[in-house]
């Protein structure tokens, strides 16, 4: 049977969808999308750009035709307390003749102009599909420019066809390693601090966590990469340990830093009250400092004490509602299941774009029987399972928002377009409020009447 709404699923897709409690082969994931699918996935460049974009004092120059740059013109809600240069959109805007004769000269000219105009300490040159195919030697152009100007100029080898967004994260992490290597060694003697990996300061989230660390008495060397500068990033190798929030994008960097600088790391999550408290305790005990631990307990008591009445109030309104979750990485998906539980909301459908096998296993352990789990879903699948599972709310990214609305389902953006910080105790309250605002809006009444 075939219908518009994609009732038939391609055979090739069956391994990517499973229902907890039913016997099925293990979850397939980390594969390329099928040709001809309406995939929600993005490309290598997108992944690399997401990770590196918050370096605020860099010129982010996209070497390619105009589009790749236009679509990333200040789209991330990463906030800065200093430089604003990262919000500009720079492109070499490759034209026909560049495609034929190569774009290296134009690229070199672009770097020269931008350096003269803005005097940045760092230029990042992103490769796109076209730059990759015409074979421009970004490495050489960057090296020459670095010598000419005496600043760091690094290529980001992010041609889009060479994988998906996860590959882009890896590419970005390699660039970050090179940045640190390029920093002046020996490192300045400094008191040991920690690095925080995988927070992009969306809506100011890093500032919340940074505030907690300060109150605990833990020094933050560098955040990767929210509100960062080249100089701050180059202090990272001196850290005592790394904490990793977004494992999807930064797990790789943590491993590389461990190999190279011997910096141990562990994972944290600041989504929801419980995960936030657990993570802060973990950090405190890793410092081995009794005073820090004591201050941390005080902080948790105070912050959680302030947040709980709000959470309780929202829980009263929301309890029994059902949520569907479709986010980028598996780690976030896991945290969201727990956070929804704090609000009395059951997750009935959950999927990721790039989750890894271990993460899917953990998701499977966490959810109730009957929950549908999917990898790299297309809109028809999302629609079908959201309706079938009776979801009241979808958590997703930009392309899922209107889809949810069309179905008369409430929506939360847990991605680029988020408007409030969702991290920490404060963030948990924001999150609960956002869920409440959307799920309990009177507008849904009219949908049901009209439909």
């Amino acid at each position: 049977m075939k219908t518009d709404r994609g009732e038939t699923l391609l055979k090739a897709r069956t391994g990517f969808i499973r229902t907890k409690g039913e016997r099925m082969p293990t979850q397939s994931c980390e594969a390329d999308s099928v040709s001809g699918s309406v995939s929600q996935r993005a490309c290598v460049y997108c992944g690399a750009r997401v990770v590196l974009n918050p370096i605020t004092d860099a010129v982010h120059l996209v070497h390619g035709p105009i589009g790749c740059a236009s679509y990333t013109f200040d789209i991330r809600g990463s906030l800065s307390s200093g430089a604003e240069l990262y919000r500009y959109s720079f492109s070499t805007d490759l034209k026909e003749q560049d495609i034929i004769f190569g774009g290296e000269r134009k690229l070199a000219a672009a770097i020269d102009e931008l350096v003269q105009k803005y005097h940045p300490p760092l230029v990042l040159v992103y490769s796109t599909c076209v730059a990759g195919v015409i074979g421009d030697d970004l490495e050489a152009v960057c090296r020459a420019a670095a010598q000419r100007h005496g600043i760091a100029v690094l290529p980001v080898e992010s041609s889009g066809f060479a994988g998906n967004k996860s590959e882009g994260y890896r590419v970005a992490c390699e660039v970050l390693m090179r940045l640190m290597e390029a920093g002046n060694s020996p490192l300045p003697a400094m008191e040991p601090g920690i690095n925080y990996l995988g927070d992009y300061n969306l809506a100011g989230e890093l500032w919340i966590i940074g505030g907690y660390l300060r109150r605990m008495g833990v020094k933050l060397n560098a955040a990767f990469t929210g509100d960062s500068s080249l100089k701050a990033l180059q202090t990272a190798p001196a850290a005592a340990f790394n904490i990793v929030q977004c494992a999807g994008s930064m797990g790789y960097l943590a491993k590389r830093m461990q190999e190279r600088y011997g910096i141990p790391f562990f994972h944290v999550s600041f989504l929801g009250l419980q995960d936030s408290a657990d993570s802060l305790r973990l950090i405190a005990s890793a410092t081995g400092d009794e005073e820090v631990m004591a201050r941390t307990e005080e902080l948790i008591a105070e912050e959680a004490g302030q947040a709980e009445p709000f959470i309780q109030a929202y829980r009263d309104k929301l309890s029994g509602k059902k949520a569907a979750v479709y986010v980028g990485g598996g780690f976030k998906a896991i945290s969201l299941i727990k956070q929804f539980r704090e609000l009395g909301v059951e997750v009935v459908m959950i999927g990721t774009q790039t989750g890894r096998k271990e993460e899917y296993d953990e998701i499977h352990n966490l959810v109730e029987d009957g929950t549908v789990i999917l990898d790299d879903a297309n809109p028809a699948e999302l629609e079908r399972f959201m309706s079938r599972q009776g979801a009241d709310l979808l958590v997703g990214g930009v392309k899922e928002r209107p889809l949810a609305y069309k179905l008369g389902v409430a929506f939360i953006d847990h991605n680029h377009d988020r408007k409030h910080p969702l991290s920490g105790f404060e963030g948990a309250v924001h999150f609960a409020r956002e869920v409440y605002h959307t799920v309990c809006s009177p507008v849904w009444k009219y949908v049901k009447q009209g439909g």
């Binding site: 099928v34 040709s35 001809g36 699918s37 993005a42 790749c68 690229l107 076209v130 069309k406």
Partner: protein
């Protein structure tokens, strides 16, 4: 954010800073959504497709469906023929559209995939169609892409099957919002002239809430209608850049005479549309339209002193900027900076001459101004620093300049990512002109109120 833009203007050769355009495929994707039961298909890496869908979704606040060939490393070396064939097969199986509209991306263009021959050898179920357009982004802009996909519709679908032409008009609306397309259809229907509009995204990207998700909403030009466009006695192309090329193609292919008009924004351009319909079809202009026009003129006279002499900068797509320039001139304003990101002319695409057209308008009005095609927002910002304006008209990206220079911004064009409703209500026609006047007037008068000292605050303005 743009506080560091320097005032001094230096020629640049390498870098575009803060683009005022985007790439062809997004225009092609949008145009294809203006065919009923059509799925746009992006032949390239999945990243491009994801970006285009996200961007359209943010502007229209509607689901935007499109499939991708999902190129990988292999395809970039050996060509994407196998990917496209698999994709065509999968799309028909999975989503069952009536038409797949393939557009290329920079990548497949650079590799040199020969789309027509791939389509010929693909397995296409009976009654279904695959059409295509070449849309390399290193030429033109998103406007060119829109034009090229419209031309693709002519190439694949239009047919002159009758001996004599029918008394009906083809309307190629150009890259406009669904609300605008609706308004142009309403005016044409009021004139009593049978019409075929393509592409037509009304009902497709402004569809009502039904509590259901329809992969293929009710709207869009029907394939049979586009086919029949070859039998019409006239094509009106609204906009040099977004519509003239397909109109001329239809003239060549099916001998339907083409007339190129401006995008009907403002009183003059709307008059031109109504007159073209009246002359060609000997139609009476109905009272209803006379009344709308009369109301517009009435308001223009009522408020003219709010507008006169105000300096304005306008940027965006070339057809829209040209018509807006004409419109603000009719209100006595002074458009001093006029910029589009779309190159003035481009190979294998839309034919227009933005710089000449707009410069002539200024000359007629006895004004001098800066006019540029293929510019970027950095340059526009520098112009404004050198010669300040009272108002900026353009898309959402204007907000940085508006803030840095503390000038009001009226949002018109594509994309608008930070406000809603705009895609539902028209800026074209006499009603659209009225709406635009209200928007401009509110922006200017709100500013006067905001800046007034306590003792100067006026009740009546």
């Amino acid at each position: 954010m743009l506080d560091s833009t320097p005032r001094e203007i230096i020629a640049r050769t390498g870098a575009v800073i803060n683009p005022a355009k985007t790439c062809q495929p997004i225009g092609a994707m949008y145009a294809a959504l203006g065919i009923h039961r059509c799925l746009p298909h992006s032949h390239g890496s999945q990243g491009c497709c994801a970006y285009h869908r996200s961007h359209l979704t943010r502007h229209f606040r509607e689901p935007v469906m499109a499939s991708t060939s999902s190129f990988t490393e292999g395809a970039s070396v050996f060509g994407g023929s196998a990917n496209l064939k698999t994709a065509i097969k999968n799309v028909f199986t999975l989503y069952n559209p009536d038409v797949i509209a393939v557009h290329t991306t920079c990548l497949s263009e650079t590799i040199g995939d020969d789309i027509p021959s791939i389509i010929k050898s693909a397995a296409i179920p009976p009654g279904k169609m695959v059409i295509h357009a070449n849309t390399p982004s290193y030429q033109g802009s998103h406007v060119t892409g829109f034009s090229n996909m419209t031309k693709g519709m002519v190439n694949y679908l239009a047919e002159a099957s009758l001996e004599n032409k029918r008394e009906q008009v083809n309307i190629l609306p150009g890259f406009l919002n669904p609300g605008d397309m609706r308004e142009i259809k309403r005016l044409t229907a009021l004139m009593g002239v049978p019409f075929i509009m393509f592409p037509d995204t009304s009902g497709s990207l402004d569809s009502p809430m039904s509590g259901q998700f329809n992969m293929f909403p009710k709207g869009g030009a029907r394939v049979e209608a586009i086919r029949d466009s070859g039998n019409s006695s006239l094509t009106l192309a609204l906009g040099e850049y977004a519509a003239s090329d397909p109109a001329y193609q239809l003239e060549r292919k099916c001998l339907v005479p083409a007339v190129v008009l401006r995008t009907p924004i403002g009183i003059q351009a709307t008059d031109a549309l109504i007159m073209a319909l009246r002359q060609h079809f000997v139609a009476e202009v109905p009272d209803e339209i006379e009344e709308e026009r009369g109301q517009l003129v009435d308001i223009m006279t009522d408020l003219h002193y709010h507008f006169h002499g105000k300096k304005v900068a306008i940027f965006g797509d070339p057809d829209i900027v040209a018509s807006l320039t004409e419109m603000v001139l009719s209100l006595g304003m002074k458009p001093v900076h006029l910029l589009t990101g779309t190159p003035n002319t481009s190979l294998g695409g839309a034919q227009g001459n933005f710089e000449a057209t707009v410069t002539a308008m200024l000359e007629d009005a006895g004004l001098a101004g800066r006019v540029k095609a293929g510019g970027d927002l950095f340059e526009l910002h520098q112009w404004i620093k050198n010669e300040p304006v009272d108002l900026l008209i353009g898309n959402t990206y204007g907000k940085y300049i508006a803030r840095a220079e503390d000038i009001p911004l009226v949002r018109v064009g594509f994309p608008i990512l930070d406000r809603g409703v705009h895609s539902y209500l028209p800026v074209v026609g006499y009603r659209g002109a009225l709406r635009l006047m209200e928007m401009i007037d509110n922006a200017l008068q709100d500013r006067v109120d905001r800046d007034a000292r306590d003792e100067d605050l006026e009740l009546i303005m």
